[in-house]
Structure formats: structure tokens, C-alpha cells
């Protein structure tokens, strides 16, 4: 029975996988074939870069790419610093008000920023930061998820290591830099992959915050293009645009499959 079962499971799995891959295969195939009014699963004509070229020129995707890369990198860099400092304090120091800090952290874990678009936009406009890249990033500079993840990791680092560093004359920042950060590499990678994927893919908040092409991100650019008059029924062009915005992450995932999956498991913190 057991053996029989093992034989069938993979076959069933492969059939499901084919179903799962249909949209991706169709999207890539269509992005690289000449536009046609007939929809077919596999490309019917010779491969062409014409759609990609057309879309790249019709929409300022170069600008959107740059914006997205800036948003993703700056957000993670600032998070890296704020989260590391907070996690170090929570993992190693006994202080008054610890409970309060945990309550604040849990509030963000329960209430994700995605649902606070309306009040956060008001704050942003009070600060005069609407339609700026900083405005897209600002609400995410303190990350409860990151603090929690790193604190758990820092807790496993033996205090003897830090004490040795103190004897060597290290100050707090040197201890964090030389002892804690290097020992928590996997947690930083996990947090980084989750953070980068989130901000690369995030849509509603950048849509609300930005008004001008100078600040729009890729997802917003794709949405505007997909809804524009030129795009109606032009699936080859929309697929080319879709390919442009999703290729980097999907490609990275195909290469680092295990790292991505392990990282996203940690993103489930609740």
C-alpha cells in the first residue's frame, strides 16, 4: 500500500505542477512572440524582442526600475540598522518598560501597515512627503517582524562571546558589529529576502503615495500600463511588461529556491 502510494504521488504532483506553471509559461511565451488576436498556450511565431522593446520605450520602465531598486535597497538598509539596534537591546539588556516595547511590536505584527493606508497618508501629507520615494519607504523603517526575528537569533548567541569582546575593549557598537551581526547572517538573509520581495511587489501604498513618473515603482507602472488604452487586448505587450517587472525576483527564486522558501517560513511570525 505504502509503495503503491509513493508511486502515484509524484505523478499527481507533476500534473499539478504543470497546471501551476501554465500562467508563467503563457506569460513568457506571449511576451516573446508577435502580437496576435488568438490566444494560444505555446508560442506560434518566431521569438521576438519587439514587445519588450516597444513596452520599454512606451513606458518609462527604466525610471521605474531605478525607483524600485532605490526603494528596496534604502528600506532594507535603514531597517538593518534600526532592527539590529532594537533586537540587540531586547535580547541582551534588562530594562524598565520592556513589556511596553513588546506590546508595540505585537501591535505591528497584528496590524500590518497595509491596512493603515488612510491615516498613514494623512501623516505623510502632514510631513509634506507625498509623492516622494521617502514617503513610500518611511512607514517601513521600523519593522516588528525584523526585530522579532533578529532578537530570537541574538538570544542564541552565547554572552561569553560578548564578554570577551568587552575585555578586548569593544564598545556596544563594536560588539554588535563584530559579534552579533556576523553570527546572525541567516536571519539577516531571511529578513532581507522577505523585505525585498515585499517592497518589490508592494502596490497599493506606492500607488497612493506617488503622483509623478519620477517616483513611481514598477508595480504602479505596470498597473497604469495594463489599464491604459494602448494595452487593451494587446496581451503581448502586457505580458512583456509583466515579464519586465517580475523577472528579477522570479529568476532569483529559481536560483536560490531553498533560501527563499526557508526565509518565507520565518515571515509567518504571528
Amino acid at each position: 500500500m505504502q509503495k503503491h502510494n509513493r508511486g502515484l504521488m509524484p505523478v499527481f504532483g507533476f500534473l499539478l505542477a504543470i497546471f501551476w506553471l501554465i500562467p508563467l509559461v503563457w506569460m513568457i511565451g506571449t511576451a516573446f512572440t508577435e502580437g496576435s488576436y488568438n490566444m494560444s498556450l505555446l508560442p506560434q511565431t518566431k521569438p521576438t524582442f519587439e514587445n519588450l522593446r516597444y513596452v520599454w520605450n512606451a513606458v518609462p520602465f527604466g525610471r521605474y526600475y531605478l525607483n524600485t531598486v532605490i526603494v528596496v535597497i534604502v528600506t532594507y538598509s535603514v531597517q538593518f540598522i534600526t532592527v539590529t539596534m532594537a533586537a540587540y537591546a531586547l535580547a541582551t539588556l534588562k530594562f524598565k518598560g520592556e513589556k511596553l516595547v513588546f506590546i508595540i511590536i505585537f501591535i505591528q505584527i497584528i496590524i500590518p501597515n497595509d491596512v493603515l493606508i488612510s491615516p498613514n497618508y494623512m501623516t505623510l501629507s502632514d510631513l509634506g512627503l507625498t509623492d516622494t520615494k521617502l514617503g513610500i519607504m518611511l512607514p517601513f523603517f521600523g519593522s516588528a517582524f525584523g526585530i522579532f526575528l533578529l532578537r530570537q537569533m541574538f538570544k542564541t548567541i552565547p554572552t561569553a562571546l560578548a564578554e570577551a569582546a568587552v575585555i578586548d575593549g569593544c564598545n556596544t557598537f563594536q560588539i554588535i558589529k563584530n559579534v552579533y551581526v556576523p553570527s546572525a547572517k541567516t536571519a539577516y538573509i531571511s529578513f532581507g529576502l522577505v523585505s525585498v520581495s515585499y517592497h518589490w511587489n508592494n502596490f497599493l501604498w506606492p500607488l497612493i503615495v506617488t503622483n509623478s513618473p519620477e517616483n513611481r515603482t514598477l508595480t504602479v507602472g505596470l498597473a497604469l500600463f495594463a489599464k491604459s488604452k494602448e494595452a487593451v487586448m494587446q496581451w503581448s505587450n502586457v505580458c512583456a511588461a509583466t515579464f519586465i517587472i517580475s523577472a528579477p525576483l522570479v529568476l532569483a527564486f529559481f536560483i536560490f529556491q531553498k533560501k527563499f522558501i526557508n526565509s518565507f517560513i520565518s515571515s509567518g511570525i504571528k
Binding site: 509524484p10 488576436y37 532592527v83 540587540y88 539588556l93 491615516p119 505596470l222 509567518g268
Partner: protein, 300 residues
């Protein structure tokens, strides 16, 4: 070295100062963009603050009373509930099935994991753009398929009875791979010996699944259900691409309605009151966690 010679009290004070100084940057952002907006929503929800008004005017619970009487509000809550019902349980069941499949060792299992998980790393906007062409009337892939087998085209996104189920189907396809990985890590925590012992006792696979796998996976199930619920309630990106809430508000969800009120109709007071409704829902979902404290296992 100097601090080692100072008194106990001053050392405690110093630690306190150090801790709060280290925490302050992160806390500043958490307070300004999570705690403050929550309080602000509660306050503004009690006011009238439409486009053209300089300052909000306090009106008590009127916004909420209006919601209670509004057909649109209940339609939207119904849509949100329907979408959750049609996505949470199916994506959990399918996610568990996928995890059971890829938990086995065979050639190509890595390929399967990749195939099931890749929609997770794609932006929802991209996925909605692709599925738009699957669902499009007449020339879309689904309708073409229906015409091929001699059925009538459905044009699923244009009818209020089919629009939410169609969106749910797409979302289950996207989300199942994400839930799969939590089940996978849950399954890998169950020791192989249990299954071996059960096999020796002559247990059938289905019995083993019911008597060993499911009970041991219970904490994971609970924890995954809160993730799935939270995600389904706050999903809106696809609506912008596919329907903009139509037909006749048939696919307007709560968060999309917050977006409409705040950014299309510029009524920040109503948007705030709706945000409060959302906060209550989020809080309710997180309460699920406390049903079983074993779920804390996943924190480690």
C-alpha cells in the same frame, strides 16, 4: 572598563538609557506609522471630514450608524467574507496536499516545490494582469476552452455571481504554495518512527494521516489559518487591475473600499471609520492564536 567600578544603581540607570537609546529609532517609526495611525483612525472615525472641510467635526458614532444602515457597506462586508470563505479553507487544504506531495523524496521534488511556490514571489499586480487574460470574455483562455468543448463563454469577471469565485480561484492558486511551506516544516517535525511503527501495526495511509499527521499538525493548522485569513482580508491589488470593484460593487472588498473612500471620494472620516472596522477584524483574527498556546512553537 570604567563602568565596572561605578555603583549598582548607576549601572542600572545606564543600562536603561542604553536600551532605550538603542530602541528609539525603531520605536519612533513603529509609533508614528503603526500606533499613532490606529489612534488617529479611532478619533477621525467619530468625525465628519469631507473634501473641502478645513477641520474634522465631531459627530459621535454617526459614521458607524450610517454603515449599519447602508446596503453598500453590508454588500462589501459580504464580499469580503465570501472571498475569505472561498480562499482560506481551499488554499489550506490544497497547501497541505502540496506539502504532503513535496515532503516525499523522489526525483524532481525540487522542481515541484519551485512550481508551487513561484507565484508567491510574483507581484499580485503581475498575476492579476496574467489572469485577466485567462478570465477575459470570449477571447480569454477560460472562455476559449469552454467554447472548444461546446459550452457557452462565461465572461466570469463581468457577472456578480462569478466575479468573487473567479478571483478566489486565482488567489488560491497564488497562496497555496505559501501555505505549503508552513505545512512542510510542520510535517518535517513529525518523527519518521511514528509512521514506521504504524506501518508495522498494519495501518493504512489514510488512517495514519488521520491519527498521526493531522493531530500533530494541529498547531500548524491553527497558525496557518491566521496567516491565510489576514492575507485574504487585506488583499486588494488585483481588484485595481481586474474590476475596480465592479460589476455593481460585486467585487469591492473592505480594504478596497477604504481606498475608494479615502482616495477617490476624499472622505477621510469614513475611510477612518472603515479602517477601525478593519482593525477590529484584524484583532479578531489574531485572537485565534490564543485558542491554542502550542502555536507558539513556531516562534523558535
Amino acid at each position: 572598563m570604567k563602568s565596572y567600578h561605578s555603583g549598582i544603581l548607576t549601572r542600572a540607570v545606564k543600562t536603561n538609557i542604553k536600551a532605550w537609546a538603542l530602541l528609539s529609532p525603531a520605536l519612533l517609526f513603529l509609533l508614528v506609522f503603526t500606533v499613532f495611525p490606529i489612534l488617529r483612525s479611532f478619533y477621525l472615525g467619530l468625525t465628519q471630514f469631507e473634501l473641502g472641510m478645513r477641520t474634522p467635526v465631531f459627530i459621535g458614532l454617526e459614521n458607524y450608524l450610517n454603515f449599519a444602515k447602508s446596503q453598500l457597506f453590508w454588500k462589501i462586508m459580504g464580499n469580503t467574507l465570501l472571498f475569505s470563505l472561498l480562499t482560506v479553507i481551499p488554499s489550506m487544504v490544497i497547501g497541505l496536499c502540496l506539502a504532503l506531495i513535496v515532503n516525499k523524496k523522489f526525483k524532481g521534488v525540487g522542481f515541484l516545490r519551485t512550481a508551487f511556490f513561484y507565484p508567491v514571489v510574483m507581484p499580485m499586480i503581475a498575476i492579476a494582469s496574467i489572469w485577466m487574460f485567462i478570465y477575459m470574455g470570449e477571447s480569454g483562455m477560460l472562455d476559449q476552452l469552454l467554447i472548444m468543448v461546446g459550452l457557452k463563454p462565461l465572461n466570469v469577471l463581468s457577472y456578480r455571481h462569478t466575479v468573487v469565485p473567479a478571483m478566489s480561484f486565482m488567489y488560491v492558486w497564488k497562496e497555496a504554495g505559501y501555505l505549503m511551506i508552513f505545512f512542510l516544516s510542520g510535517l518535517q517535525n513529525i518523527s519518521e518512527e511514528m509512521y514506521e511503527a504504524a506501518t508495522i501495526d498494519g495501518a493504512k495511509p489514510w488512517t495514519m494521516f488521520r491519527k498521526i499527521t493531522l493531530p500533530l499538525l494541529a498547531p500548524t493548522l491553527l497558525f496557518v489559518s491566521t496567516i491565510a485569513l489576514t492575507n485574504s482580508v487585506k488583499l486588494v491589488d488585483h481588484i485595481v487591475i481586474m474590476t475596480e470593484g465592479g460589476p455593481n460593487n460585486g467585487s469591492t472588498m473592505l480594504l478596497y473600499h477604504i481606498y475608494q473612500q479615502g482616495f477617490a471620494w476624499f472622505d477621510q472620516a469614513k475611510a477612518s471609520a472603515l479602517t477601525v472596522v478593519m482593525l477590529v477584524i484584524m484583532l479578531g483574527i489574531s485572537m485565534l492564536q490564543f485558542v491554542n498556546t502550542d502555536s507558539k512553537i513556531h516562534y523558535n
